[in-house]
C-alpha cells in the first residue's frame, strides 16, 4: 500500500528527473549483461539450519571481482574474489577466491548451471558453500538457496534475500518444509546460523 501525496512544482521536476533517471537505468539494464541465469534444477527445499549443517564454508562478504574462464575439462566457470566481512564456518580469511560453475566468455559462449547463483560485482551476500571439489569448485548448498543477498528493508533494517530463480523444489521425508518467504532479517539469519553452527562445533568436539 502506498501513501498518497500532492507534488508541488519542485516535486514535479524532481519526479521528471527521477523518471528520466529510471528510463536511463532501464536502458542500461536492458542492454547490460545481467547477473542471473536461466532456470532448471530440482533441489531439496532446505531451511537455514539444514543448510548450516551441510556447509563447509559460510561467509558474509562482498564480490570484488569475477573472472569467467574455461576449465581444463571444457566447462566454463567463474572465479569470484570475495572481500570477507565475517566467516561463520571455515577458516577465517580477509579475502577468498570462490569458483562457481557457469559463466559467459567474451567469445559469446555462455554456460549456465540452472539454479546456480551468479554473483554480481560489488554484491554483498551471505554464502553457504559446500566443500571444494578436486577441481576447485564450490557448490552453494541448495544451489540458489545458498546465496542470500544483503539489502535493506523499508524500515532500514538489514535483510537477506534468497533467489529461487531456476529452482524446482522438492521435499523428502525427514526434511522440514522450507522457509515461508525469500526475504529474511539479517540479524535473525546470522543468529540462527551461529546457533546451529555452534551445535555443530559441539558435536565435532
Amino acid at each position: 500500500m502506498r501513501t498518497p501525496f500532492s507534488p508541488g512544482v519542485h516535486a514535479q521536476r524532481l519526479m521528471r528527473a527521477l523518471l528520466f533517471f529510471f528510463a536511463v537505468t532501464l536502458v542500461v539494464a536492458a542492454s547490460w549483461p545481467r547477473s542471473d541465469q536461466p532456470s532448471a534444477a530440482t533441489v531439496l527445499r532446505m531451511d537455514l539450519e539444514q543448510q548450516a549443517d551441510l556447509s563447509d564454508l559460510v561467509l558474509v562478504g562482498t564480490v570484488a571481482s569475477a573472472r569467467p574462464f574455461q576449465a581444463a575439462d571444457g566447462t566454463i566457470r567463474t572465479e569470484y574474489e570475495m572481500l570477507v566481512d565475517r566467516t561463520l564456518w571455515g577458516e577465517s580469511r580477509a579475502r577468498r577466491t570462490v569458483t562457481l560453475p557457469g559463466g559467459a566468455l567474451a567469445s559469446g559462449r555462455v554456460t549456465v548451471i540452472p539454479g546456480m547463483p551468479k554473483l554480481s560485482l560489488g554484491e554483498d551476500c551471505l554464502l553457504l558453500l559446500g566443500p571444494e571439489t578436486t577441481s576447485g569448485m564450490r557448490i552453494p548448498v541448495g544451489l540458489g538457496q545458498g546465496r542470500l543477498r544483503l539489502g535493506r528493508g523499508f524500515d532500514g533494517r538489514r535483510t537477506l534475500e534468497q533467489d529461487h530463480a531456476g529452482l524446482s523444489f522438492t521435499g523428502i521425508a525427514g526434511l522440514r518444509e522450507g522457509e515461508g518467504g525469500s526475504v529474511f532479517d539479517y540479524s535473525e539469519v546470522i543468529s540462527r546460523l551461529q546457533a546451529r553452527l555452534n551445535v555443530r562445533r559441539g558435536e565435532q568436539r
Binding site: 532501464l26 536492458a30 532456470s39 549456465v112 544451489l143 523444489f169 522438492t170 521435499g171
Partner: protein, 738 residues
C-alpha cells in the same frame, strides 16, 4: 544525443520484445534473449548406458524414454527429441562435450555439481550463444546423493517425473505459473502426475517451435488509474473448463496467448504470487502482483488469427489467496469418484464459495479454517481429463483463482493376469494382459520395453480390461508388468513376467556313459528352467532334476554304444540347447567311498578308494570341479584291484575335495563330492615370506624377535652406536685423546 522520448520509446520496444514472447520460455538474463534449439526437429538425446545404480531391470532407461515420449507426443510442434541408439554414444559420459546431450545418472559426482550438501536432485546445464541458440544441454541426476525409483518406492524420486520436468528445461521452457503443469517448480517424490505434459506445457512447446497455424487471444490489462499491469498471469480455459494455456503480460500490460486451437475460451488474469511467484522465474521478468484475480471475459478463436478481447481493468488487490507452494500440485481428482483435499492460503473464511471451472465437477467445502480449506471433489464418470481451476469467492465478493491446480485422471489401472507369465526373451511371443481401466494411449512396460497403445508394434487395446502385445526382445529377468495411463497413473503387477534368455550348455560331465544306462550326468550352463526335458539321441530321459538355472542332473536310460549323440535340453517354453554324449559298452566305474576321509594338504598319505568295476585304465583325480569334472590333481596309483584302488593323496588346499575315477581310454567317470578333506598344516612363520597361517599358540619371545627383523635392526644399530660411544670414551679414560 538521444531525446528522452526516444529513450523511453527504445526502452519500451526492448522490453516488449523481451516479454511479449516469454511467458514460459527460458531467457538469458544477459540480454533477455529466449534460448532455443535451432534444429528443433531433431534434438538428439542419449540415455547413458550405465543408468541408475538403484535400478537393475532396465526400467530407468524406460522411464527416461517415457519422459522423452511425453514431450514427443505433443502435436503441432516441430520439436522432437531423438534418442540416439548407438552403443558407443550411450557409453560416453563426457556430458560437457557439445556433440552429445546426455541423460545421465552421476553416481560419483563426476560433474562436481553434486557434492555433499548441494541438495540437488537433478540439473539441466545449458550452454548457448548469446543469440539464444542452444549449443549443448544435458540432464544430470544426482545418483550418488539420492535414491531413484521407477516403482513408486517411498523417499525415492520418480525418474520419469523428474526427467519430464528437466526435459522441458532442456527444450527451453521455464517454470510455469499453472499449478498442475509439469513445469510447475515444486516437486515431491509422492507426485507422479508431472510424468505427463499439461496443456500449458504443450502450448509452450508449440509456441517455441510451432508446426502449422494456431489461434491467439490478445488483450491488455491495466489498473483503474490506467497504468499497465506488468507480469500478470493470463490464463485461458476452454469451454469444458480445462486450463489450456497461459502467458504473462508485457511491460505495456499487453498479452497474446499463443498456440490455441479453434474454440471458445474464458480469459482470466491472476497475480503470480502463490503458489508460483516471481522468485521462481528468471529475474529478467517483472512481476506485479498488486491487483486482484479478474475474469476478462470470453473469446472465440477461429483459426490462424488473433482474437482481441480489448483492454480490461484489473480488480483491486485483495488478501484472499488459495494454494501455497508447499501444497502438492496437481491435486488429483478421479473420474467417477469423490476425493478429499486440503489447500492452504489466506482469507479462507466460512461463508466463502469454492467452485471448479468445470461446472460438472462438484466441489464441497467441509472446513474453512482461515489459512486453509478442506473440501471434497466429485467427478462424473465421463468427465473430461485435464487440469481445471478452482475459484474462491469470499463473503465480501473478493475473488481468487487457483489456475490449473486440480487434474482429472482416470482411476489407476490394475493388472491382474499376464499370460503367459514367462517366455523366451528373444521376443515373438503373444502376451495377453487382463485388468481394469485400460485406456487408449496407455503404455505397457515390461522390462526394458515400452508398448504404446495404438502405435506400430505397440499394445492393442482389446477392451478396457484386456490388452495384447507381441513381446519384443526383452532384457532377461523377472519384471513388473506396468500399464501406465497417459496421465502418468499406473497399475503394476509385481514380478508379473519372466523374460527368459536362451539356455546354453557349457559342459556335460561325464560326456560318456555306459550303454545300459544309469550314469549320473551333470549338465552345466545357463538359463535352465524348471520343467526342462533332456533327450539323448532323441531318447527321452525321464530322470532329470533341474538343480538351478545353471545345473541339471540326468540319470541316463542308456542307448546303443557309439556316438557322439546329440544331447538336448528343452525348456518348457520350447527353447533348446544342445551338446553331445556317447555310450560305451564298458561299465562305468563305481566309487563307494574313500578311506581315510582326510589328510594333510601337503598330500603324501595313502588313501583307499572302494568301489566296483575298477581297473588299470582308471585315473584318480582329487579336487576336480564337481559340476564339470575339470581341474584337480592326479593321484599316483599304488595298487588296483576290481574293488579297490590305493593311491597317494596329492597336495591340495585345506577343505573338502571331490574324488573322481575317470577312465583314461573312454572318458567315463564317476565322482564323489566332498568325500575327502584336506587339513591345513600348522606353520610358524619364521622370517619373511607369505602364505603363513596364524600360529595356534602364542609365540615365545624368540618368535617375536624373529618376526620383528626391524626390531633386531634397531637393537643392532643401538649396540653398534653404544660400541662407538664406548670407543670414544675409552681413549679419554686411557689418555689417548690428547
Amino acid at each position: 544525443m538521444l531525446s528522452r522520448a526516444r529513450v523511453i520509446h527504445w526502452v519500451s520496444a526492448a522490453l516488449l520484445v523481451a516479454l511479449a514472447a516469454a511467458h514460459v520460455r527460458i531467457v538469458y538474463d544477459g540480454n533477455g534473449q529466449a534460448i532455443f534449439w535451432s534444429n528443433p526437429s531433431s534434438v538428439s538425446v542419449v540415455i547413458q548406458s550405465n543408468g541408475s545404480d538403484n535400478i537393475s531391470d532396465g526400467s530407468d532407461a524406460v522411464a527416461l524414454r517415457n519422459a522423452i515420449a511425453a514431450w514427443n507426443d505433443v502435436t503441432s510442434t516441430t520439436a522432437t527429441l531423438v534418442e540416439v541408439q548407438s552403443s558407443a554414444q550411450k557409453a560416453r559420459t563426457d556430458w560437457q562435450s557439445d556433440d552429445i546431450h546426455l541423460l545421465m545418472f552421476d553416481e560419483n559426482n563426476q560433474s562436481g555439481y553434486f557434492g555433499p550438501g548441494s541438495g540437488t536432485v537433478a540439473v539441466t546445464p545449458l550452454t548457448f550463444y548469446t543469440t539464444g541458440s542452444i549449443i549443448d544441454a544435458d540432464v544430470l541426476f544426482n545418483g550418488g546423493g539420492y535414491q531413484f525409483t521407477t516403482k513408486g518406492q517411498g523417499g525415492r524420486f520418480d525418474i520419469q517425473d523428474v526427467a519430464t520436468h528437466e526435459l522441458g528445461h532442456l527444450l527451453g521452457l521455464d517454470h510455469s505459473g499453472v499449478a498442475g503443469a509439469t513445469m510447475f517448480p515444486y516437486v515431491d517424490p509422492s507426485v507422479i502426475l508431472h510424468r505427463s505434459v499439461s496443456a500449458d506445457d504443450a502450448g509452450g512447446l508449440r509456441h517455441m517451435y510451432p508446426a502449422g497455424s494456431f489461434g491467439r487471444i490478445a488483450g491488455t490489462l491495466s489498473r483503474s488509474d490506467g497504468s499497465p499491469v506488468i507480469g500478470a498471469h493470463i490464463s485461458v480455459r476452454d469451454s469444458l473448463g480445462r486450463t489450456t494455456g497461459a502467458i504473462l503480460t508485457n511491460n505495456s500490460g499487453a498479452f497474446t496467448v499463443q498456440a490455441l486451437d479453434p474454440g471458445t475460451y474464458s480469459v482470466l488474469a491472476v497475480p503470480l504470487d502463490q503458489p508460483v511467484s516471481a522468485m521462481n522465474l528468471s529475474s529478467w521478468y517483472t512481476i506485479q502482483t498488486n491487483f486482484g484475480a479478474t475474469e476478462l471475459g470470453q473469446a472465440v478463436v477461429t483459426g490462424n488469427s488473433t482474437t482481441s478481447i480489448g483492454g480490461h481493468t484489473a480488480l483491486a488487490n485483495t488478501s484472499l489467496s488459495l494454494g501455497r507452494s508447499y501444497d502438492d500440485f496437481p491435486q488429483r481428482v478421479i473420474m467417477g469418484q469423490t476425493t478429499s483435499h486440503v489447500l492452504r492460503g489466506a482469507g479462507l473464511v466460512p461463508g466463502s464459495i469454492l467452485e471448479a471451472s468445470d461446472p460438472t465437477v462438484v466441489v464441497t467445502p467441509t472446513v474453512w479454517n482461515g489459512t486453509s480449506v478442506q473440501f471434497q471433489v466429485t467427478c462424473i464418470a465421463d468427465v473430461p481429463l485435464g487440469h481445471f481451476d478452482l475459484t474462491v469467492t469470499d463473503p465480501l465478493g473478493n475473488l481468487e483463482i487457483l489456475v490449473g491446480g486440480l487434474e482429472v485422471t482416470p482411476p489407476n489401472p490394475t493388472v491382474s493376469t499376464v499370460s503367459p507369465s514367462a517366455a523366451i526373451g528373444t521376443g515373438g511371443v503373444a502376451i495377453s494382459i487382463s485388468g481394469t481401466d485400460f485406456r487408449p494411449g496407455c503404455r505397457v512396460i515390461i522390462g526394458d520395453q515400452i508398448y504404446e497403445e495404438g502405435q506400430p508394434e505397440g499394445a492393442i487395446l482389446v477392451s478396457p480390461t484386456s490388452l495384447r502385445l507381441l513381446l519384443r526382445p526383452t532384457i532377461g529377468g523377472i519384471h513388473d508388468v506396468v500399464v501406465m495411463d497417459r496421465s502418468g497413473v499406473e497399475g503394476r503387477k509385481a514380478n508379473g513376467f519372466t523374460a527368459q534368455a536362451d539356455p546354453v550348455i557349457a559342459t556335460v560331465f561325464p560326456g560318456v556313459g555306459q550303454s545300459n544306462g544309469g550314469t549320473l550326468v551333470r549338465i552345466s550352463g545357463s538359463d535352465f528352467q524348471v520343467g526342462s526335458s533332456v533327450h539323448i539321441d532323441g531318447a527321452y530321459q525321464p530322470l532329470v532334476t533341474v538343480l538351478s538355472p545353471t545345473i541339471i542332473e540326468v540319470v541316463t536310460t542308456g542307448g546303443v554304444p557309439g556316438g557322439p549323440y546329440i544331447l538336448t535340453v528343452t525348456m518348457p517354453t520350447g527353447e533348446v540347447a544342445s551338446s553331445a554324449f556317447q555310450y560305451e559298452s564298458k561299465p562305468d566305474p563305481v566309487l563307494a567311498g574313500v578311506s581315510p576321509a582326510n589328510g594333510s594338504d601337503k598330500g603324501g598319505n595313502m588313501v583307499l578308494l572302494n568301489g566296483m568295476q575298477m581297473h588299470s585304465e582308471l585315473e584318480v583325480v582329487f579336487g576336480a570341479n564337481p559340476q564339470t569334472g575339470q581341474g584337480g590333481t592326479l593321484a599316483p596309483i599304488v595298487s588296483v584291484t576290481e574293488n579297490q584302488i590305493e593311491v597317494t593323496a596329492p597336495p591340495g588346499t585345506a577343505g573338502s575335495a571331490a574324488v573322481m575315477l575317470r577312465d583314461s581310454l573312454t572318458g567315463q567317470a564317476v565322482m564323489l563330492t566332498g568325500v575327502y578333506s584336506y587339513t591345513g598344516s600348522i606353520e610358524v612363520h619364521v622370517g619373511g615370506g607369505c602364505g603363513s597361517v596364524t600360529p595356534l599358540v602364542p609365540p615365545g619371545w624368540r618368535d617375536i624377535l624373529s618376526q620383528s627383523s626391524w626390531l633386531l635392526c634397531l637393537l643392532a644399530i643401538g649396540f653398534w652406536r653404544a660400541r662407538g660411544t664406548a670407543a670414544l670414551l675409552v681413549p679419554v679414560r686411557a689418555g689417548k685423546s690428547l
